[in-house]
């Protein structure tokens, strides 16, 4: 089997003949990788997932999972994937255990196997002591974990997570991240996730695709993406009012220098190494460094660079409101 577990070529979804939700998207996900789709609400993340998990038919293009075509061999795809949806889909009137068994039945797993597996999964997500409690008594984090357990019942080779920590508090969020990391480490599972949290993409994903308006803008590891911005920014201030731009430029690793009043903004690929060099070089020339700071680029800057706006702006603009309406409408037609 190929190392490319998920492969999308020109994958496109057009709703209502003119609403382009996903626009000729190409990407591939390698075995054992956590691949993240990062973008604001309405960017086309969920639509992409829905096509990959065979709920929506692509308008154009194709995609395959483990070599199975998502349109032609959708049943094979369904047997080999798991889904952890955005919503809490577990039935409130049923217990956690019953919910997992129900999921197992949807895969046609025999009861003697599913009962054993359900207990193992409850153990994995640390819900064993609540297994006979109705889901309506569960907290948000517990429900998330239950969804995770349900998504794993068929021992999927590829797990899809749609906004896995949406609406969770910070603590629960990082706990959920740990479960996800364990899946990758212990089971060598391939994970495809969507998120609009920059920190989440940074903390979890091996590779990220930034998606906006249905198009993939850039793909890379979080580090690559941050490095593509040209590196860290070192800000230096000196005592004397003289221009030392030329001097700084000569220092090793320095890529760019900009002077703003008495402050110098220095771009460098490896800030931690460059900063001491700068201090040393300036001291040799008799300059006294009064202040120095080092900023590492975050995904927020990456996002800003590639989409021309910050993540928060994209979320808060009227555009996202349209996107939400569109999300609601997408199933109607």
């Amino acid at each position: 089997m190929s190392e490319e577990v998920i492969k999308a070529e020109g994958l496109t979804k057009i709703f209502n003949k003119h609403l382009v939700a996903v626009d000729h998207v190409n990407f591939s996900v390698k075995r054992g990788e956590i691949f993240g789709f990062l973008g604001p609400n309405g960017a086309g993340k969920t639509t992409t997932i829905n096509m990959l998990i065979t709920i929506l038919r692509p308008t154009e293009g194709k995609a395959s999972i483990l070599g199975y075509d998502i349109a032609k061999q959708n049943n094979e795809v369904r047997y080999s994937i798991g889904l952890v949806p955005q919503e809490y889909t577990a039935d409130e009137d049923l217990t956690g255990y019953e919910n997992i068994l129900l999921c197992a039945d949807l895969y046609g797993i025999s009861h003697e196997v599913s009962k054993k597996r359900a207990l193992e999964l409850l153990e994995l997500v640390e819900l064993t002591e609540f297994k006979d409690k109705k889901v309506q008594t569960f907290s948000g984090g517990m429900r998330r974990r239950l969804e995770l357990a349900c998504g794993l019942i068929n021992r999927p080779k590829v797990l899809f997570l749609d906004e896995p920590t949406l609406g969770l508090d910070v603590q629960t969020r990082s706990a959920t991240w740990n479960y996800i990391k364990r899946l990758k480490k212990e089971f060598g599972m391939t994970l495809f996730m969507t998120t609009h949290y920059l920190e989440e993409a940074d903390a979890l994903c091996d590779r990220i695709a930034i998606i906006d308006h249905g198009k993939i803008i850039v793909v890379g590891t979080p580090t690559e993406l941050k490095d593509s911005l040209g590196g860290d920014i070192i800000t230096v201030g000196i005592q004397k009012d003289v221009d030392i731009t030329g001097l700084i430029k000569k220092i090793e690793h320095v890529k760019e220098v900009k002077k703003e009043n008495d402050t110098y903004m220095i771009k460098s690929e490896n800030g931690e190494i460059t900063a001491p060099l700068i201090i040393e070089a300036l001291r040799k020339e008799g300059h006294i460094v009064t202040r120095l700071s080092l900023t590492k680029p975050t995904l927020n800057e990456v996002y800003l660079q590639y989409t021309g706006r910050s993540m928060r702006d994209a979320e808060e603009s009227g555009e996202s409101l349209d996107a939400k309406r569109f999300t609601r409408a997408r199933f109607r037609h």
């Binding site: 929506l56 949806p85 809490y88 889909t89 009137d93 049923l94 039945d105 949807l106 046609g108």
Partner: protein, 302 residues
């Protein structure tokens, strides 16, 4: 893939049971579904007791008349017996039984089935909103099984409720007809199963496209009254004005009720009529189930 069933129908019972569990595992909901027919029968059956209008107690011979005609006590009793006999004949000819509450109880059974299928149709909207539908669609469970499970659970619930209504109606004065044998209960269940199949498929096909609860509510409210009152639920079709008869005569609920009345409360069974009633409800079920599943399937497969 060991231990995995790849049959086309896998998951059907699991999904049906999921629907049923929401009902029998939630004590409040379960008790309410039992109380509802009691209230209907107790209140409506007595408040609207058409039987008492012409029943034996409605006729009395006034003392003036007795003194005018100079009747003997034997003649008075005879006269009253004569009148109450007329009353019973009117009831028998109108409702096919002398007990109005029996007539209405059967209407109530069909009415409860209508409501159950409506709610089952509405639950599709919830499944969509809560993401359960998407979750199920991402699994290898067949699309038609998702729809069928809703239909099946509505049918099973209705049959259970029918049995409860009959049990409750007995102390309230329900009388089985002369032609009744216990095996007829199976015939009643067959009617209920068919009508639920048809109605439930119809409502699911209507509701599966909507994401808001308001739309199905409006549709259900619109359909609810005409389906109920343009039927033989409370009053026989033959006594309705022509235009209403025309509507009631195509209403599959009328056929269901009339068929069930033949089986339960009538003194004789007209088998050719019964065959017609089964055929009508059966064709209704077959057509609507096909349409419902095709429409839903097409929607789920885009």
């Amino acid at each position: 893939m060991n231990n995995v069933s790849r049959s086309k129908l896998h998951g059907l019972w699991a999904l049906t049971n999921r629907e049923l569990k929401k009902w029998y595992k939630a004590p409040t909901v379960f008790i309410l579904t039992l109380i509802q027919p009691v209230i209907w029968l107790g209140l409506l059956g007595n408040a609207l007791n058409l039987g008492s209008l012409v029943g034996s107690s409605s006729f009395s011979v006034s003392p003036e008349l007795i003194s005018q005609l100079q009747l003997t006590p034997t003649q008075i009793t005879g006269l009253q017996g004569f009148f109450s006999n007329i009353g019973d004949t009117i009831l028998q000819n109108t409702f096919g039984t002398t007990s109005y509450i029996s007539f209405m109880a059967v209407g109530m059974i069909a009415f409860t089935a209508l409501f159950t299928t409506m709610f089952s149709g509405m639950s599709v909207v919830w499944d969509r909103r809560l993401g359960f539908l998407n979750k199920a669609l991402s699994t290898p469970v067949s699309r038609s099984v998702i729809i069928l499970s809703k239909v099946l659970s509505a049918a099973l619930r209705s049959m259970f409720q029918a049995a409860i209504i009959l049990i409750i109606a007995l102390p309230l004065g329900f009388q089985f007809g002369a032609a009744f044998t216990p095996i007829n209960i199976l015939g009643v269940f067959a009617f209920l199963f068919l009508i639920c199949l048809g109605l439930s498929s119809l409502f699911i096909a209507i509701n599966i496209r909507s994401t808001r609860m308001e739309t199905p509510m409006a549709v259900m409210n619109l359909l609810n009254l005409p389906l109920t009152f343009a039927s033989s639920a409370f009053f026989p079709i033959e006594r309705m004005p022509d235009w209403l008869q025309a509507v009631a005569n195509v209403n599959p609920l009328s056929y269901t009720m009339n068929g069930m009345r033949q089986l339960l409360i009538n003194s004789t069974i007209d088998y050719s009529q019964l065959a017609l009633q089964y055929a009508y409800v059966g064709i209704f079920a077959a057509v609507l189930t096909t349409i419902g599943i095709v429409l839903s399937w097409r929607f789920l497969n885009k």
